[in-house]
């Protein structure tokens, strides 16, 4: 990140970088440091004494079956949201790349859902799937399927997965379409001459060329599913019924903000931090490789 031509003086640049730095230090670094600190300590019930307890908070966290369940729920949730959102977006992007009439209208009609807040998309899905009020939910019950996501844990998980993926498809669609459009027409034509058409052309030519985009999206979607679906889950199920839809972020909110368990939620925060750092590192490692090549 070096430039040859630069301006002199250091007072101005320090002043320019200061606003961002202050926000970062006070609202990001300081709280994160406090979270790490309290994950290694324990405060008595009166808040008078704080003592260092080493890894005790983490040991009790992982020996709690509720937390392990939440890990499993999060893994299933993230995997399925990511898969659904990627698969559907890829399918739509492949066809939106065809030269058909009105394709720019189709594109707009597939891009706008990016603007819908995850929490509001959950509200929309309530009116579709609610067992008494929702159009499809009621219909399912009429044809004899016992549908009630407010009582049935796996139905609840299924619904938050669908609602979570629904909001993310547009984002992926934009990237897949850009990826497809950057494949040179000559490559496609050459494949056509060689007799590779339809599904075979897609599998042997297009898909490998889309791999960088797919890998990038995979990580972005995992981060989205793990963190940004908090609103979706809170609006639809509140993590319930029971703990059926309690992902790690919902749990850290429930334990920290509602149950005021400082040590436990700090330890959970530290675990989440490790997960985000891992995912971000993967993403940047990959990005660097691509900009170099």
């Amino acid at each position: 990140m070096e430039r040859r031509t630069i301006f002199g003086g250091w007072l101005l640049p320090v002043a320019l970088v200061l606003p961002q730095l202050l926000v970062t230090i006070f609202f990001f670094l300081l709280p994160a440091a406090r979270a790490i600190y309290s994950s290694f300590t324990e405060t008595d019930a009166f808040g008078l004494h704080t003592r260092f307890v080493g890894l005790d908070n983490f040991v009790s966290l992982f020996s709690d079956s509720g937390y392990r369940d939440s890990f499993v729920t999060t893994a299933i949730f993230c995997a399925l949201v990511t898969f659904l959102a990627l698969a559907l977006a890829l399918l739509l992007a492949v066809f939106a790349d065809h030269e058909i009439r009105g394709r720019s209208i189709y594109r707009v009609l597939l891009i706008w859902p990016y603007a819908v807040a995850p929490a509001v998309s959950a509200v929309l899905w309530v009116f579709v799937m609610h067992p008494q009020v929702g159009l499809i939910g009621r219909w399912l019950n009429q044809i004899g399927i016992n549908w009630d996501y407010t009582l049935n844990g796996s139905q609840a998980l299924g619904l938050v997965i669908v609602a979570g993926a629904w909001t993310q498809v547009s984002y992926n669609f934009v990237f897949f379409l850009a990826g497809l459009q950057s494949i040179p027409a000559s490559v496609i034509e050459a494949a056509w001459m060689d007799g590779a058409r339809g599904l075979r052309r897609f599998r042997t030519i297009i898909l490998p060329l889309l791999m960088p985009t797919t890998f990038f999206l995979l990580i972005v979607n995992l981060v989205y599913a793990a963190f940004e679906t908090f609103g979706t889950i809170m609006a639809l199920t509140h993590g319930g019924p029971g703990q059926a839809t309690e992902t790690l972020v919902v749990k850290v909110y429930r334990d920290g903000v509602i149950n005021l368990d400082l040590a436990g939620s700090s330890a959970q925060s530290a675990v989440l931090m490790i997960i985000v750092i891992g995912l971000t590192a993967l993403q940047f490692r990959f990005l660097d490789r691509r900009t170099l090549s």
Partner: protein
């Protein structure tokens, strides 16, 4: 290659559009219907055009039975929050990227990495201590508390840094020959050059700001600071029987309109920008 009617493309794309439009259409249609009928399970896909006035009355009064703020007030808070966050993040990031790329100053790299690290610390991983810091600064239940802590942006800083690094040295040199100081260079040169990036980021950040949920939930419990997103989810959770269904549906439709308008109106920049920003 002879052109045939590409019916699979039309079919798949239309199904995709239906999948996205259906829930919104349903909620739009439901808003105009009788709440009693909806409650009995008679939600229909056919809107009752005689009752389109519901949108206006919800906008002006909201759910008055509840003591909640009127919907226009929630939308104003959302709009103010989205605008301050979008503009603030862009300004702060332009300035720091400019400083890092065009100057040498003590701890420059440390400053850069400090900004970069925010990528790895979303609110979710520091919920309780962030609340404590906010309380220390007396920022709970203030508009500043709702916006200022969200202004740091590693993504935007990285993007502008990339743009500035790509500017040829000759251009910088000739600007200096013309006697442009650092401030004039920033305004007359860098900002115009990155206009398209700024427009794209604006769309992304406006949507980001408008759609915030966890942050306002955490730092603003005062109903006068309720955003529209917070307002709806709250009604949904507590008011399953208290709030008329059609009111809630009208609110949902109103809440998604402004960000959709921004995305559609600026879609050219948005699509180009999104793929460049790479989050």
């Amino acid at each position: 290659m002879r052109r045939r009617f590409d019916w699979p493309a039309y079919l798949i794309l239309s199904l995709g559009v239906v999948l996205f439009v259906f829930p919104v259409w349903l909620v739009f249609a439901g808003a105009t219907q009788d709440p009693g009928a909806i409650n009995r399970g008679d939600l229909s896909l056919m809107p009752d055009f005689a009752h389109l006035g519901i949108f206006l009355s919800v906008l002006l009064h909201g759910d008055s039975s509840h003591g909640a703020e009127p919907v226009w007030h929630m939308m104003m808070i959302s709009a103010a929050m989205a605008l301050v966050i979008a503009v603030g993040k862009i300004v702060i990031s332009v300035l720091s990227a400019y400083a890092v790329v065009f100057f040498r100053f003590p701890f420059r790299m440390l400053a850069f990495w400090t900004i970069f690290i925010t990528l790895m610390l979303p609110v979710e991983v520091r919920i309780i201590p962030t609340y404590a810091v906010m309380a220390d600064f007396h920022l709970i239940n203030t508009f500043a508390g709702l916006t200022v802590p969200l202004l740091a942006s590693a993504t935007a800083t990285l993007l502008f840094r990339q743009v500035y690094l790509a500017i040829p040295d000759e251009l910088v040199e000739s600007a200096r020959m013309d006697g442009a100081g650092p401030i004039r260079f920033l305004f007359d040169m860098l900002i115009p050059v990155s206009g398209a990036n700024i427009a794209a980021l604006f769309v992304i950040l406006f949507v980001f700001g408008w759609n915030q949920y966890l942050w306002p939930l955490l730092v603003a419990t005062d109903s006068r600071l309720d955003t529209i997103v917070i307002g709806i989810v709250q009604l949904m959770n507590e008011g399953f029987t208290l709030t008329p269904w059609n009111t809630m549906m009208a609110m949902a439709v109103l809440s998604i309109l402004p960000p959709i308008v921004v995305v559609v109106a600026m879609q050219r920049w948005f699509v180009k920008g999104l793929t460049e920003v790479e989050k």
